[in-house]
Subunit: 583 residues, 2 copies
C-alpha cells in the first residue's frame, strides 16, 4: 500500500506502531520476547495484588493486564513503558468506587469498570485536543509528597491481610483505628505466612542479587532471579496452604478464579454513576498520566529517544478503554515494571504485546493453581513494592530550598494521610497554584543603580551602585497582570511621596514578560498621577512582545516620558552629567 | 482618657472614627450635613427601587440604608463613600435567594437577611486576616464586562414593571421569553406612567442641568436639583395615582409600608440555609468589595487621602452585619451616590451617619405617602441608573490590545447574559486565572545576541546582533515554576540537538523572578544531559532573591559552567575573541 507522504506521516503520528514496525527484525523480536517473559513473571502476582488493593476480584487484575497492553503497543510512543494496574491508581480506584458501592458486590466491580472507561475517555480527549500541558500544573514536590503519603496508606491498608482480620478506612487514622479494634481476632497462621513472606521479599530485594553474583552467576540472570522473588513466594505459600489445609484454619485465600480469557464487558452509562465518578476519573487520569509520562521520559532519555506527551495521553486513554471493555479497572504505566522491561532489553512496544500474551496464557492455564494462594502473600508483595515509594526526604529538601514548596508538600502529605487520596491530591494542586498566584500578586520590586564601570544595573540594597537623586529606577521582577496591578500602584506612590527632588521615574521592564489590560490601565493611572506631581514616567528594556502590544494602546501617546531600549541609555539621557562614555 | 501611644494607634486603625473625630469642627459639620441632605433625597427612591429589584418589600430598602451607614461611619476609612443597596448586588441577592424561596414569602426575606449576615461575616473575617489582596484576582476587564452584562439584565428585568405584567428569569433569554409570553396583558396606564417617567429621567440627566445653568442658577444648586429628579418623579406619579385612583385600573403600587424604624432582626442559623447561600455570599462579598473599594480609591486620590483596603473590608463587613440585624439586605458602597456625596462636599464619614438619620426620618414620617407610589416609577429609576453602567466598549478595547483579555471579557458577558450573574462572574474569575496560568506555562524564550557597540543583548530575530556559533544564549521571559519546568527542558533539547558546534549554553535569567523546586529539578536534569552531550551550562544575570535560594541547593555545585553577574561578562569570558573593551 502506498500512501501520499503527508497522510502517511499523520497516520504514523496517530498510530506509532506503523513507525517502529517498519524496521522490526528478528533481533528486536528476541529482545522483546525475553523482556516480556521477565515482565510477565513479575506482573502476575502484582496484577492479582493490585486488584485486591482496589477491592476487586483477583481475576480483574489479570484482565487489566491483557488488552490494555495491546492498546498501548498500538498507540503509545514509549518503547519501554509497561502498562497495567499500579498501586496508587488502584488505591484511588478503591477510594472512588468505595463511595458508591460495597466491596464484593457486582455494583462495585461495575463501577470500577466504568471508572476505567471514563478515565480512558478523558485521557483520549485530552490527547486529541493536545491538553497534555495540563499535567504540568502538578508540581514535582506535590507529586512526590502525594506518592509518599499514598504509599504509607497503601502499606497500612494491607496490614489487615497480614493479620488476617477485617479493617477498612480511607485515611491513616481510620485505618489504624479499624485495625486496632479488630487486632484481637488476629489469625496466627496468617500472621506467620505474612511476616515470613515480608521478610523473604525484603531479603530478596537487598540480599539475593549480591549472593547470586557471589556464586559467579551472570549479572543479568541474577537480576531476573531477584525479580522472580514474588513468584517464588506465591508458589511456596500456595503449596503450603494446600498441603497443610491451612485454609480450614482461617487463612484467607484468593479462592476460585474463573479460568479463561477476559469476558467482553460494557461500562455503565447511567448519568448518576458518571456524575459520581467524574471528578475521581479526572484525578486518576491526571495522576496516572503524570506518573506514566515521567517514567517514559526518563527511560526515553537514556536511549536518546523522544516520547510525545499528547500521543501518550491517547496511548493511556485507549489502554483504559480497552481495560473497561475487557472487565478490567484503571491502569497506567508502572514505574518498577517499566524499569524491569527496559533493563531486560525491551526495544519496542511489541514487548508489551508479548507480555499480554503471557498474562493471557496465565489466565487460561494458571488460575486453578492460584485457588490456595493466601491473601497475606499478595499483601506482603504490595507492602514491599510501595515502601520503596515512601520517601519523606522531600520535606527537608523543600524546607531548605523554599518554604512555599515546603508548605504545599506538607499540606499534601498531611491531607492525604488525614483525609484520603482524593482530598490530598486536589488540595496539593490547588495549593501549588494558589501559592504561585499569591507570590506573583506581590511582586519583588528592586530599586536599581549602575554598577560602576559597566552598563549593568543592580539592586541598590545588594550592590555598590551609582544613582542620581532626581532619578528613581525601579526594576519590576514580575509580569504585570490583574493580580498585581494595584500592588504596583501602591508601591510606586509610597516610593515617590517621600523623596522630594525626583523628576524622573524609570520602570525597568527587563523582567516584565506581559502587561495585560488591567496593568495597562494601572500604568495609565500612574502616568497621570505622576504627571500631576510633576514627575515624568519612562520605561526601559521593554521586550519585543510586550512592546508590540503597547504600541496598539493609547498609553504610548499619553506617556509623559520616553521608552529606552536599554536602561543605560535612560540613565545617560536623563542624567546627562553622569554619562560615561566607556565602561 | 489617656492611652499609651501604641495602643491608641492600634485602636485608631481598627476604629477610624477615633482619628477623624479628633479634629471634627463646625465647618466640617456644615459640609457633611449639606451633603447628607442631598444624598438622602437621592437615596430614598433608590433604596425603595433596589429592594424591588432584589424582590423584597420596599421598606427593606430603607432599613438597609440606616444602620449600615452608621456602621461604616465607625469602621470605614473612606471619607466620601456612601453605603447602601446598589443595583448589581441587589440583582445578585435576587439570584441567590430566588433559588431557595418564592418572592413575597417570609422565607425569601429571611434568606436575604441571612445572606447579608453571611456576607458581612466573610468581609469582616477577610479584613481581620488582611485578605484584601484576594480582590485583585478579579481583572479589570472582567469586572467591566460583568457590570455591563448585569446592567443589561437589570434593565430587562425591570421592563415587566414598566409594562405592568408578570415575568421572571435569571438570564437574558429567560427574561425576554417570559416578557414576550405575557406582553398581551400589558397595562396601558402603567406603560404610560413608566415611559413618561423614563423620558423625564433621561431628560433630567442630560438636559435639566444645562437648562438651569442657562437661567443663571448657581452650578451647585443646579446640580442638586438635577439629582432630585427621581424624587420629583416619585412625587408626581404618586400624586397622579392617588388623585385619579389609577390603582383600581391595574396600576401596581408599592402599597402598605410599615411606618417606623427598622425592627431588630436575626439571621437564620440553619446549616442548610447557610450552605445554600455560602457561595453566593462569597461572590456578593467580593464583587461588592471590588466595586466599593475602587470608588473609594478614586475619590480618595482626588484629595490625596488614603484608604486602607483591609480596613474597608471591616467597614463593609460590619455594614452588612448591621443590615442583617435591622431587617436589611446586602449593601456596599455605591458609585453614583458616593460621587454625589463627594461633590456635595462631604468631608468625613459623619455625612453617612447624617444620611442615616435622614432615611430614619423618612421611615418614620414618609412611608404613608408612598402607599400610592407606582412600581413603574421605581423601575424607571433603576433602568436609568443601570444603563449608565452599560458600556460595551470594553470589547473592542480588549480585542485591540490583547486577545486573552478579550476572551475573558467576552466569556464573562456571554455567560452572565446567558446563565445569570453567579455563573458569569465565577467563570470570569476562573478564566482570567486559567488564561494567566496557561500563558506562564508556555513562556516566551528568546535567543539573544549582543547589540553592537553596547553591552546590551536582544532577540536575534528582532535586532541586528552579534553572536558566536559555539555559544547559545537563551533569555527566558518567565519565572521558572512547576507549570513550565518541563516546557523549558523540551525547548532546550530541541534547540541544542540541531546545531553541532555548540560548546556553551547560557540561560540569561534577567526575567526569571523565581525558580521553584520543580524548576530546580528540571535545571539539574538539563545540566546533566547537556554534560553528557559535552555542552556546558551557564547562568547569567541571576537576581538576588533567586540566587539566595540557589546557593542553598546542590545545583550550584553540580553546575558544569559558571554564573555571571552580567550577560556581557559571560560573552567576554566564553568567546574571548569577541570581547570588546569599550562599547
Amino acid at each position: 500500500m502506498t500512501l501520499p507522504k503527508p497522510r502517511r506521516a499523520s497516520l504514523e503520528r496517530h498510530f506509532p506502531i506503523l513507525q517502529w514496525s517498519k524496521t522490526y527484525d528478528r533481533a528486536a523480536l528476541t529482545s522483546d520476547a525475553v523482556a516480556a517473559v521477565i515482565v510477565t513473571i513479575m506482573l502476575i502476582p502484582q496484577s492479582l495484588a493490585y486488584a485486591l488493593l482496589a477491592g476487586l476480584p483477583a481475576e480483574m487484575g489479570l484482565y487489566a493486564s491483557i488488552l490494555p497492553l495491546i492498546a498501548y503497543a498500538i498507540f503509545g510512543t514509549s518503547r519501554a513503558l509497561a502498562v497495567g494496574p499500579v498501586a496508587v491508581i488502584s488505591l484511588m480506584t478503591a477510594a472512588a468506587v468505595g463511595n458508591m458501592a460495597l466491596q464484593g458486590t457486582a455494583e462495585y466491580a461495575a463501577a470500577a469498570i466504568t471508572l476505567a472507561f471514563i478515565s480512558g475517555l478523558i485521557l483520549t480527549v485530552m490527547g486529541l485536543f493536545r491538553l497534555g500541558f495540563l499535567a504540568n500544573f502538578l508540581s514535582h514536590p506535590v507529586i512526590a509528597g502525594f506518592i509518599t503519603a499514598s504509599g504509607v496508606i497503601i502499606a497500612t491498608s494491607q496490614l489487615k491481610h497480614i493479620l488476617g482480620i477485617d479493617a477498612h478506612g480511607h485515611s491513616l487514622a481510620e485505618l489504624i483505628t479499624s485495625i486496632l479494634e479488630n487486632i484481637t481476632s488476629t489469625n496466627i497462621i496468617t500472621l506467620i505466612i505474612g511476616l515470613s513472606t515480608l521478610a523473604f521479599l525484603f531479603w530478596v530485594r537487598k540480599g539475593l542479587k549480591p549472593l547470586l553474583l557471589g556464586t559467579g552467576m551472570a549479572p543479568r540472570l541474577a537480576e531476573i532471579l531477584a525479580k522472580a522473588g514474588p513468584v517464588g513466594a506465591v508458589a511456596v505459600t500456595t503449596l503450603s496452604v494446600w498441603a497443610f489445609g491451612l485454609d480450614t484454619h482461617g487463612v484467607r485465600i484468593v479462592g476460585d478464579i474463573p479460568m479463561g480469557l477476559p469476558p467482553l464487558s460494557l461500562p455503565s452509562f447511567s448519568a448518576d454513576i458518571w456524575s459520581n465518578l467524574f471528578v475521581s476519573a479526572i484525578l486518576i487520569s491526571i495522576i496516572g498520566f503524570v506518573e506514566s509520562v515521567s517514567v517514559a521520559q526518563t527511560l526515553a532519555a537514556k536511549k536518546r529517544q523522544r516520547i510525545l506527551p499528547d500521543q501518550e495521553l491517547v496511548g493511556l486513554g485507549t489502554s483504559n478503554i480497552a481495560s473497561a471493555l475487557s472487565g478490567g479497572f484503571p491502569v497506567t504505566g508502572g514505574f518498577s515494571r517499566s524499569v524491569v522491561n527496559f533493563d531486560a532489553g525491551a526495544e519496542t512496544p511489541a514487548a508489551g504485546a508479548f507480555t499480554a500474551i503471557g498474562i493471557g496464557l496465565a489466565a487460561l492455564l494458571l488460575t486453578p493453581m492460584l485457588f490456595f494462594l493466601p491473601k497475606a502473600t499478595l499483601a506482603a508483595t504490595i507492602i514491599v513494592a510501595v515502601l520503596s515509594l515512601v520517601d519523606f526526604s522531600i520535606l527537608p529538601k523543600t524546607w531548605n530550598y523554599s518554604k512555599v514548596d515546603f508548605s504545599a508538600v506538607a499540606a499534601t502529605i498531611f491531607l492525604t494521610l488525614g483525609f484520603g487520596v482524593e482530598i490530598g491530591v486536589s488540595a496539593g494542586v490547588l495549593l501549588s497554584i494558589g501559592l504561585f498566584l499569591y507570590k506573583t500578586s506581590r511582586p519583588h520590586v528592586a530599586e536599581v543603580g549602575l554598577v560602576p564601570n559597566t552598563q549593568h544595573f543592580r539592586n541598590i540594597l545588594r550592590h555598590d551602585v551609582e544613582t542620581d537623586p532626581s532619578l528613581v529606577t525601579l526594576r519590576i521582577d514580575e509580569s504585570l497582570y490583574f493580580a498585581n496591578a494595584r500592588y504596583l500602584e501602591d508601591y510606586l506612590y509610597d516610593r515617590v511621596v517621600c523623596d522630594e527632588p525626583i523628576q524622573h521615574v524609570v520602570l525597568m521592564c527587563s523582567a516584565v514578560n506581559e502587561i495585560d489590560m488591567s496593568a495597562l490601565e494601572s500604568l495609565e493611572e500612574i502616568n497621570k498621577r505622576l504627571q500631576e506631581m510633576g514627575i515624568k514616567l519612562h520605561l526601559s528594556e521593554v521586550k519585543g512582545p510586550v512592546m508590540d502590544r503597547l504600541v496598539r494602546s493609547h498609553f504610548i501617546t499619553e506617556l509623559t516620558g520616553d521608552i529606552f531600549l536599554a536602561q543605560y541609555d535612560a540613565m545617560v539621557a536623563l542624567t546627562g552629567a553622569n554619562a560615561q562614555k566607556s565602561p
